[in-house]
Assembly symmetry: C2
């Protein structure tokens, strides 16, 4: 990683070089969390396993909300604990004081600086919840407000659009949930073996230029649909947000099921669709969705293992490794970040500093 | 209401006449629920109040998901019970079996026919949850799967795009929550007085043609953003879905807070924004959002009480009555449904039978 001169705003010199550097670091980020993060996360996991939460509420905004959504699936599926994604506004705007005794409230935020999440955390503690902050800044107000903290160890993010902090949140939350599942016995050997392969797999995915080359295909698109089911749905949502933030497309994300409930009407050959199709139950459930999209002659790009699902003839493909769908969420987003970067550059935009955005968004 | 000859699919003869009739019936729908629905709903509310659920999980898809989101706000704010919106896929695709003892699981579906919601309800009963179905069809599989059922009494919906079943779900869920809050003492007199005004207010909103006339403004738009906070956020989401289903726009809904976290970059004078701005805390929290949109010279339409929030100069307005924001959700959607209908007709589409859609969507 070459260090570059930075302007007053802390951005690197070349257009998009900050985002490119952030994206490129993600395999190292995984390796770092697996080496240095796993111990502290296991301690937090043990504390939570002992308190046996009755339910888990996640609270987050923007990109971190997609990491929280991923963690909500993990919590229900791997731990059998019911979960919800809490809207801060019920508490911050309307003064809701839900009875959270026995609950775990998890705030996810790369900066740890959103005042509304800090307020949710403070209220959650007052009303009896256990609280955990997952951030990239141990000195942040959110980390201070929560009893427990997990540092995702991603290092400073150069671009405004979050990439490496997103994947670091995903892996930290996966390690947390698998740690809670394992109790103090350490991770399941099968899970551990999968995780050990992750940095190498991420490196190989990042080295593939297929997605960047596909950016030309969307040069003149002004709207787009992303879709996926189960563990792939957060990937679809995060892809849509990245494309909106960096290339100013109107990118709509739907779970494959919700797409069939109305928005399908909107798709036609002029609205490109990016489908994230994993090699497990979520991917299998996309078969009907791909079929219906194909009937409507949608322009399709399918991201996922090449053998996972027969993409309709004519669909573009970005192949990613066949791994458990839990892990796929940590790999499939990588080429889609590269696509967002390449598309922004192709359009002459600066993805390091999108118009109208700030790194810490202070909503109340 | 004039009865018309119907084709084999049960649609009325003229383009959009089914949707127009459905929309027009909503004041009567409110009156009917307040007369005939309120007693049965109070019985269900008493049953739930006695069992004192520790948390409430809503499960729904499409339009009904927006009614569930509204009910989730109500449950947290008015009852102080933590809630979540459960994704069916964790259970139906990945076999999650969360520990739902002490939980109430509420399935919301106009048809009551979605197999995935039925499966969630069956699993919820097996793992110890109390279960409630809120549907427009007491003979539906979802109603049969749940222990408790609320009929929203909306009558048969003519158009594929849901309108009157949505608002009937909203009012039924409001009556449920206020009933639980009241215990068996009957509704709070202030709430009851507000509800008594609802059908008349709905009638006056429906008689206003401002929104329909504004359709011309969006004749050539192919994308659009809707936004609102708190109780107005479900209205923003439902508006976006209605525009996608009937007029095939790419309509993106964001909570005002999330809009500032990234998608704001996408807004400019060429992407129209519809903001739902109530006369309470949710509306007040939109002030910063409106300011930021104005800085970006966004094309704005503001829906809500004329005195609620100073819309930026040049913004178009659809005035709706000043009522508690809980009630506003039942009124502000009405002109937005009319806008969707008028826009579809202006574009030569048939909103009664959008391309590619089916009334009951059978996702697994």
């Amino acid at each position: 990683m070459v260090e570059r001169a930075e302007d007053a705003a802390g951005r690197s010199g070349g257009r998009g070089e900050g985002m490119a550097a952030d994206i490129a670091e993600q395999a190292d980020g995984y390796a770092r969390l697996l080496a240095d993060g796993i111990g502290p996360i296991a301690k937090v996991a043990n504390r939570i396993a002992e308190s046996q939460p009755r339910f888990v509420l996640f609270t987050a905004r923007g990109t971190s909300d997609h990491a929280a959504l991923y963690a909500a699936y993990l919590t229900e599926i791997r731990l059998g604990i019911p979960t919800g994604l809490a809207s801060p506004s019920a508490i911050t705007l309307y003064g809701a004081r839900p009875d959270l005794r026995g609950a775990l409230v998890v705030g996810v935020s790369q900066s740890g600086g959103s005042p509304d999440l800090v307020e949710v955390m403070n209220v959650a503690r007052q009303v009896g919840a256990d609280t955990l902050a997952v951030t990239n800044n141990p000195a942040s107000p959110l980390a201070a407000a929560a009893e427990l903290h997990i540092d995702v160890l991603a290092g400073r993010e150069r671009a405004v659009a979050a990439t490496k902090t997103y994947t670091a949140e995903l892996l930290a939350l996966l390690l947390l949930v698998e740690g809670i599942r394992a109790g103090d016995g350490g991770l399941d050997p099968v899970v551990r073996a999968e995780l050990d392969r992750l940095p190498g797999l991420a490196q190989s995915v990042l080295a593939d230029t297929t997605a960047s080359q596909l950016a030309a295909r969307y040069r003149f698109a002004d709207r787009l649909v992303t879709t996926g089911r189960g563990y792939a749905y957060p990937t679809a949502r995060e892809t849509a947000l990245k494309l909106m933030e960096t290339s100013y497309l109107s990118a709509l994300a739907f779970s494959g099921a919700d797409l069939l409930h109305g928005p399908l009407a909107m798709t036609d050959p002029d609205v490109p669709v990016l489908a994230v199709v994993g090699g497990g139950p979520g991917g299998a459930a996309m078969r009907e969705v791909l079929g219906r999209l194909s009937e409507r002659r949608a322009d399709l790009l399918v991201v996922g293992p090449a053998d996972a699902e027969s993409a309709p003839p004519g669909a573009a493909r970005v192949p990613t490794p066949r791994v458990d769908e839990r892990l796929a969420a940590l790999l499939d987003i990588l080429p889609l970040q590269q696509l967002a970067l390449a598309l922004a550059l192709a359009r002459g935009e600066d993805p390091d500093a999108p118009r109208g955005l700030r790194k810490v968004t202070e909503t109340l």
